[in-house]
Symmetry: C2
Subunit: 214 residues, 2 copies
């Protein structure tokens, strides 16, 4: 998952969507380069996935912010919490990456208001769950060219319906839920480790907390 965050952040950072459009028009036009130190990638969600993504982005020299239920202390990451913190973070965001679990609190969180607070030419990556983003608000933000591009890997209903306007939108990348592939070998290794650990210590690994909803 951290690799996908890095890969599609670089896709946006190196203007791959714009270069693809220019190629289709046979247009040779170098675009201004912005170094990663001058780009802020903001992560919605700073759990295990978010923290790993932050680390990978940091070592490629991006500025990283993160938002979570409670403020976290992670080296090199500016941490925000609460509604005030969210809007503070959004105002300085170039790439917003959604990694939040879907709960009653996160459904529709990426709303019209959230998308309007992002600076012009910001971009969105949704790698968590479709219902966290308000689709109508997203299309509006894209159509008014406030939002430069959206990379969407998750949708309210999957597979994405053939009628969805996202498929043909020139500033949307549609992916078929592939940002966090389960690698069979690594999954098997984790399960084996947990069983070994349980046999030695009787400890059951941390899992889903049904009260929090993830």
């Amino acid at each position: 998952m951290a690799e996908a965050v890095l890969a599609w952040t670089l896709f946006l950072h190196r203007d791959m969507p714009a270069y693809a459009r220019q190629q289709a028009e046979r247009r040779w036009q170098p675009l201004a380069y912005t170094p990663p130190e001058a780009r802020t990638v903001s992560l919605l969600g700073l759990g295990e996935l978010g923290q790993h993504a932050a680390q990978v982005l940091r070592r490629e020299r991006f500025k990283v912010c993160g938002w979570s239920r409670s403020r976290k202390h992670i080296e090199g990451v500016e941490s925000f919490a609460g509604e005030k913190g969210l809007f503070e973070m959004l105002a300085g965001t170039d790439v917003l990456v959604c990694l939040l679990p879907l709960t009653e609190h996160t459904q529709g969180l990426v709303s019209h208001r959230v998308l309007q607070v992002l600076p012009d030419d910001a971009a969105l990556i949704n790698f968590s769950r479709g219902p966290i983003v308000d689709d109508a608000a997203l299309l509006q933000a894209l159509d008014t060219v406030r939002l430069k591009h959206a990379v969407l890997d998750v949708f309210d209903r999957e597979p994405l319906s053939a009628e969805s306007p996202f498929w043909s939108h020139p500033r949307v990348t549609v992916l078929p839920h592939v940002s966090g592939p389960t690698d069979v070998e690594s999954a098997a290794a984790i399960v084996a480790d947990n069983i070994r650990n349980f046999r030695h210590t009787g400890h059951v690994p941390e899992g889903v907390d049904f009260r929090r909803g993830y």
Copy 2:
């Protein structure tokens, strides 16, 4: 430049060209994921640029090979030299990245023979100079679907002519010579350092060796 190597290696590694084609066809089809440990990226050229690219690729867990005039000892990089070494390296390559300087020895180096030795579904990135790749041989390798994709940032003549078959080739990404952007701030800092150094020590920094040709 190392960032560009990483960005377009991830572009190929995460199957972005295939997903873009599927999106155009409104097709929802997750493709099998291969972890970076199972991908070999081979660098033609292990000078400063190549060594930096190797380091960045290594930390994202790709297997890295490199080919240069003389064998290098770089941690985690399998080093090759000579014609025999070149063909040995090519046979195990998934992504071939050209970073060589253009000299009488490297012109046309990525030839029909070189492209035929690459395994099926390998990809090419050319970030150095156009004449190092034989364009006719490249088009043939792409059209016989032996080569999966080519990312070309440099061409025999630039800007690339509007008549070039590369613009509309479904398995070619054309970039307008942007892989190694000169960042004005960092370039100014390097020049300032060199002047400061010269004033203190009288030492002129290493530059182009006209006998080697780069």
